[in-house]
Amino acid sequence: MDFKEIRHIARFLIIIGIQVLILNQIRFSGFITPYLYPLFILLLPFNTKGYTLLLTAFFTGLVVDMFSDSLGMHASATVLMAFLRPWVIGSITIKTEFEPDVEPRLNVMGAGWVFIYTLIMIFIHHLSLFLLEIFRFSGFGETLLRTILSTAFSVLIIMIAHLLLGSQKRTRAL
């Protein structure tokens, strides 16, 4: 257990805390829900192993589920998002080799890349989440509208979080 793991755990607790205690209580016209917690999965380093990625996503979703009485829904949506992450990264990135432990951050990839990446991933997550919540396709128009509006808010919040995170320090000699 070195500094790296402790930083990840602290980040997990802060992000889940903000999600559960603050964002879950915000009610924009009873329709729009911003979700910050996918940021934790988005921020995992590029070289994260496949099983770590999926199991972390499952656990993160399960913790959020525990606090919102929606057992399995957030877990399923987050796992789907994590499963598609390598493919999304591969399809929007030209450079594919990264130094170990580099995270998809503003100073590494640039604001445009981070925005597109966040947008695609959050859209996948929200669409799957809201479809699971309705559990049928009859209200598809409303679900899509809800997904788009919530995605806009979540992406906004995640981009603000990116700005607050600052830049990733390169303390280790590579």
């Binding site: 879950n24 496949g50 999926l54 919102s68 009485d69 057992l71 829904m73 877990a75 796992v79």
Partner: protein, 272 residues
């Protein structure tokens, strides 16, 4: 066999994904089946205590709204006091009244978590099994029906809100006692729908909807809302009625859990 293992290890990313999705869907299905719910929900100890701490801090910000709600409820209750009524028949007197057995008892509780945005909303309260709460009890608020208790832990309970897709409440129109069912269609937390009112019934905008008292969950006459819009769609056998709730679930703070004292006796005779 070795080829199979090789295949699985080569594509483990996909198989792990599929496995986790299957687990998630199983959890969703299990949680949705009324009552077969799992220990991972907000009535467990960790989530319950964290919500309790948060609520202790945030409840000060809504004291004004809560006071107004309580004042309205007090006025409504005061209007029901026997002292308001003139006694017109002096021939009746009561001695140890055995005609009126107490049927309902109320346990008050504070809401520590609530939501109105989701399709399926849940409420967590700070009373549990130790305070006499059991699954399947009705829950009412200052201005009407709130929901049904789903899970209890020793100190907390999880409630299925009226704003939930599985929720159906037996209700009637106050002026003519026609029975219907209240459900929530989603989207607007101030509106519910009333089903199964046949077209020969005379309706008016503003008619009050109250609970029927047939479900053993709620006493008769708990207010729910007023009729906002109604129409008979072409080819339908029933009215489509939109009911505006009296209660705003968004600023709900305190609720009462309804304990039906003769519930077991009633269920026994109905299942016989």
């Amino acid at each position: 066999m070795r080829n199979l293992f090789n295949f699985i290890t080569r594509h483990y990313f996909f198989f792990l994904f599929a496995l986790l999705q299957v687990i998630s869907v199983m959890l969703i299905v299990q949680n949705n089946t009324y009552h077969r719910s799992f220990f991972i929900n907000s009535s467990n100890l960790i989530a319950g205590n964290i919500y309790n701490i948060r609520e202790n801090i945030t409840q000060y910000f809504s004291l004004k709204a809560v006071n107004e709600q309580l004042l309205e409820e007090n006025t409504r209750l005061r209007n029901q006091l026997p002292g308001n009524y003139l006694k017109t028949d002096q021939n009746i007197f009561t001695f140890r009244d055995t005609l009126h057995l107490r049927q309902f008892r109320y346990i008050n509780a504070r809401i520590i978590n609530n939501s109105v945005r989701n399709r399926n909303n849940h409420i967590t309260i700070d009373k549990g099994r130790l305070h006499g709460i059991q699954p399947d009890m009705g829950v009412i608020g200052p201005m009407g029906v709130v929901g049904i208790v789903k899970d209890v832990s020793p100190n907390f309970s999880s409630i299925i809100s009226l704003l939930h897709s599985d929720m159906q409440i037996s209700a009637k129109i106050e002026k003519n006692n026609h029975l219907g069912t209240i459900i929530w269609e989603g989207f607007d937390h101030r509106k519910v729908s009333m089903l199964y009112i046949p077209p020969h019934v005379q309706l008016e905008r503003g008619d009050t909807i109250i609970t029927s008292g047939f479900s053993q969950l709620f006493p008769e006459g708990i207010p729910i809302g007023v009729i906002d819009e109604f129409e008979i769609r072409r080819g339908d056998n029933f009215y489509t009625i939109s009911v505006e709730l009296f209660m705003d679930f968004n600023n709900l703070q305190f609720v009462q859990v309804v304990q039906h004292i003769f519930r077991e006796e009633l269920e026994e005779v109905e299942n016989r």
